[in-house]
């Protein structure tokens, strides 16, 4: 009898353990990718879909917490940047294994850096580390310590490691052996991708339970956004990582509890004038476009509040600076909003000899003020913005011709032939550190769109920007860097080489079945804390 009782208790405990275990196994998370990932090799990632797979599967030394915007230790328990940003030393976490069981060591970090900086691979991630001529040297000091030395200092060096997924030097599975929360088990081309929980993932929650909570992730390839929305409403997928304003409103009307507007993002939309001396434009137009008064008058004639309200349905904010207010550390909060004042705009134009004649603006020499703005065809938001700006500028007698071009033709004009007058485009920005925009703000840079690749700065204010950007790039002193970037923002606010229009909001949609999701403005907005997301209620925190 006693033996039977013991057996019964044992069986009961086994059954209970099984039930609890199954309750804790978090089911399958489903969401959509807009295209197939082009690579699973983390150093070759260049498209959004591959970036998603890298984020879900890759283990990194340091991770940028998308909520706090602070760096956090991951595979490196600590790190130290030295020699003014030329070297970085990591102390690595011990007893960590790749998804295939291969042990993780400093040798893998060295191997990853080697692959990353291999000139034959042209790694887009590696480009950020190319600070100067010369080789990157890795010094392995034991199993868990490594120092990486770069040929020249790199500002914000530690933040760059958020993108570096460590690869195994010894695994026969090569890049498919990963250190992140999930690993790829199935890839059905054009249909779906299946990821499973990494059994060797090193991270545990506060209660000592191994992360991630969710068992597997199915990524369906779905280009049609309407289908994606329908699938979310039907409960077939668990979230949409990024929504635009139109889809946000449609979904909000149908299922308001699913949508999230995390607020203003890092992305901006801007317009600029062609100030290139050799551009095939008449001299009087070049004189308009290089005049600060002209650019400021145009800026003051654009109703940014209306752009945000009408075009983006309120899911955008009038832009103030080239640094978005979402970038808490670097945004210059002392800058006032750009005013919308067409009377003031006309007064500014009068200083340059512009005058109104029967409802049309003429310059000093009597030319009718008319110019064209190009933008990429098919982008409804930009086309609408251009149409609204057209009406705004008509208010000060300027005739604006809106021209939509297919993207290759647009790039040909703004980057090669320079045969355009003004251009409306946007900037998708992922990097919080403004140093990543050196290739825009230096007058010698190719992406200095209004007048690229200058041998010497064309204006005094561009020379000042050059000096400030170089100064901030040559120091690790955060106070000095912040002062320099604030001053650059002031200059850009005054000179308006780019007339910043709006900063778009970061919007997403999350099913009520998904817990612990806290959508943020930085990419990836919804699944940035993938290892903490749950689909059940047993470990659910606040949604």
């Amino acid at each position: 009898m006693r033996q039977r009782l013991v057996r019964f208790v044992l069986l009961l405990s086994v059954a209970l353990t099984t039930v609890i275990a199954s309750a804790q196994s978090g089911g399958q998370l489903r969401f959509c990718l807009r295209s197939e990932p082009k690579t699973f090799n983390p150093v070759l990632v260049a498209d959004d879909a591959s970036e998603t797979v890298r984020y879900l599967t890759g283990g990194v030394l340091i991770r940028l917490n998308r909520l706090t915007q602070q760096l956090e230790p991951e595979l490196a328990t600590s790190w130290k940047v030295g020699d003014n940003g030329r070297t970085i030393s990591f102390k690595l976490r011990q007893n960590v294994r790749f998804s295939d069981g291969t042990p993780f060591s400093a040798e893998d970090v060295a191997y990853t850096m080697d692959r990353l900086m291999d000139p034959g691979l042209h790694s887009p991630t590696g480009d950020a580390f190319r600070s100067g001529e010369g080789k990157v040297i890795t010094q392995v000091a034991g199993k868990n310590q490594i120092t990486v030395t770069f040929p020249a200092p790199i500002v914000g060096l530690d933040k760059l490691f958020d993108q570096v997924a460590i690869m195994s030097a010894n695994s026969p599975q090569k890049e498919m052996a990963v250190l992140g929360p999930y690993y790829v088990v199935e890839n059905k081309a054009g249909s779906y991708l299946l990821l499973k929980r990494n059994p060797n993932y090193w991270k545990q929650d506060a209660a000592g339970r191994q992360l991630p909570y969710i068992d597997s992730i199915r990524l369906d390839i779905q280009q049609n956004r309407d289908m994606e929305m329908l699938r979310l409403v039907r409960g077939e997928i668990d979230f949409i990582n990024s929504l635009d304003a139109e889809y946000y409103d449609k979904l909000a009307a149908e299922a308001p509890n699913l949508v999230y507007d995390a607020g203003v993002s890092l992305d901006s939309e801007q317009i600029w004038f062609n100030q290139i001396p050799t551009a095939p434009l008449p001299p009087y137009k070049k004189a308009w476009f290089t005049s600060t008064n002209f650019r400021r008058a145009i800026s003051e004639s654009i109703n940014r509040e209306d752009l945000a309200r009408v075009v983006f349905r309120g899911h955008a904010r009038p832009a103030v600076s080239w640094v978005s207010p979402a970038n808490r550390l670097w945004f210059n909060s002392k800058l006032p909003p750009h005013p919308f004042d067409q009377k003031s705009a006309l007064q500014i134009l009068a200083q340059d000899g512009f005058r109104m004649q029967s409802g049309t603006l003429h310059d000093r020499e009597g030319h009718v003020v008319e110019f064209s703005v190009i933008t990429n065809a098919g982008n409804k938001y930009r086309e609408r913005m251009a149409t609204m700006i057209q009406q705004d500028l008509a208010g000060i007698g300027i005739r604006l011709n809106v021209v939509t071009l297919d993207f290759p033709s647009l790039i040909e004009r703004i980057a090669r032939s320079f045969d355009y007058e003004a251009c409306l485009l946007g900037l998708v920005n992922d990097d919080l550190d403004p140093n990543s925009q050196m290739n825009v703000w230096l007058s010698s840079a190719e992406n200095h769109q209004w007048n690229p690749s200058q041998k010497t700065p064309a204006t005094a204010w561009e020379a000042e920007i050059d000096a400030l950007m170089r100064a901030q790039a040559s120091t690790l002193n955060m106070k000095k860097r912040k002062q320099a970037i604030d001053r650059v923002q002031e200059i850009v606010w005054q000179q308006e080489p780019f007339i910043y229009l709006v900063n778009k909001n970061a919007m997403s949609a999350v099913s009520t079945a998904l817990h612990n999701a806290h959508p943020v403005v930085l990419r990836p907005q919804v699944y940035w804390n993938i290892d903490e997301l749950t689909l059940g209620t047993e470990v659910a925190g606040n949604r």
Binding site: D226, M229, E246, D249, K250, L251, A253, E254, D306, R309, V310, E370, F371, S372, I374, A377, G378, N379, K380, E383, R384, A386, T387, M388, Q390, Q391, R399, N401, V402, V403, T404, L405, D406, S409, E412, D419, Y420, E421
Partner: protein, 268 residues
């Protein structure tokens, strides 16, 4: 089917009259943005509501119809004339002239014309008014759309030039020009007329396709293409059935052009 033809022509006349009188009939300017009445439902002030920039939909439909209905026939006329010139000459002269001209026609037919249109349009000067841009767009359509018609006309001209009455005319001492002018061209008229009539809806739809790609008529001038772009964002979530009016009008007008063709024109 005479009644159907009459009804179709009557409808086309009615639509043409409405769009020609748009200045008097339209409730507002096609470009005026009522920024406090975005995506408004139909009302007395805006009988078809407003679009996403607050512009009156009925006004845009009337002006857009005017653009498409005036310029598509102009483009069709241009392409028919080119087809008559190239196809007629090739068929009438024959020999190596015909072979060369038809080879050129075949080359034109094998070009991906949408890609060609996009490329040619990208090379045009940027600083042109919306009206000029629409004229250029339709002129391009006219210049690129002659090849298929030229083949048909060439075949017909060849048949005619070897027919008994042309041989008789030639035997009685008629010169080449007189033969062409008095005997061939009058007999090509029905086919030219049919080609012209068929080309109109083709060009309307082509402009609509370009407009849907955002490469048609420049803002703020409306056309059927730009009006149909609104339907891209149509969704069951925010059903606004009045958004379909331009599509319905386009389908009906294009159908009317086809119904309007006489039986003999179709057979030719």
């Amino acid at each position: 089917m005479k009644w159907a033809r009459m009804a179709a022509l009557g409808f086309l006349v009615l639509v043409s009259a409405a769009c020609l009188l748009a200045d008097y009939v339209a409730p507002a300017s096609y470009a005026q943005q009522f920024r406090d009445a975005l995506d408004a439902a139909p009302s007395r002030q805006h009988p078809l509501g407003t679009d996403d920039l607050g512009r009156d939909r009925l006004s845009r439909l009337l002006y857009g119809t005017r653009v498409s209905l005036l310029l598509a026939p102009a483009a069709a006329l241009l392409s028919s004339l080119l087809a008559a010139l190239i196809g007629g000459t090739a068929g009438f002269v024959g020999g190596w002239v015909e072979r060369c001209m038809m080879a050129a026609t075949d080359l034109f037919l094998s070009l991906p014309w949408l890609f060609l249109l996009v490329t040619v349009r990208a090379l045009l000067p940027l600083n042109v008014s919306p009206f000029t841009s629409v004229v250029i767009t339709f002129a391009l359509l006219g210049c690129l759309g002659w090849a298929a018609a030229a083949r048909v006309i060439c075949a017909d001209a060849r048949t005619l030039s070897s027919s008994d009455f042309v041989l008789l005319a030639r035997a009685t001492g008629n010169g080449s020009f007189r033969l062409l002018w008095r005997h061939i061209l009058p007999n090509l008229k029905p086919i030219l007329y049919a080609q012209f009539w068929i080309s109109i809806p083709v060009f309307i739809l082509t402009e609509a396709n370009l407009g849907i790609l955002g490469l048609g008529v420049a803002e703020p001038l409306p056309s059927w293409g730009s009006l149909l772009r609104e339907l891209e964002s149509f969704s069951a979530f925010s059903a606004q059935p009045w958004q379909f009016v331009p599509l319905i009008l386009l389908v009906v007008v294009v159908s009317c052009f086809h119904v309007g063709l006489q039986k003999r024109e179709l057979s030719s």
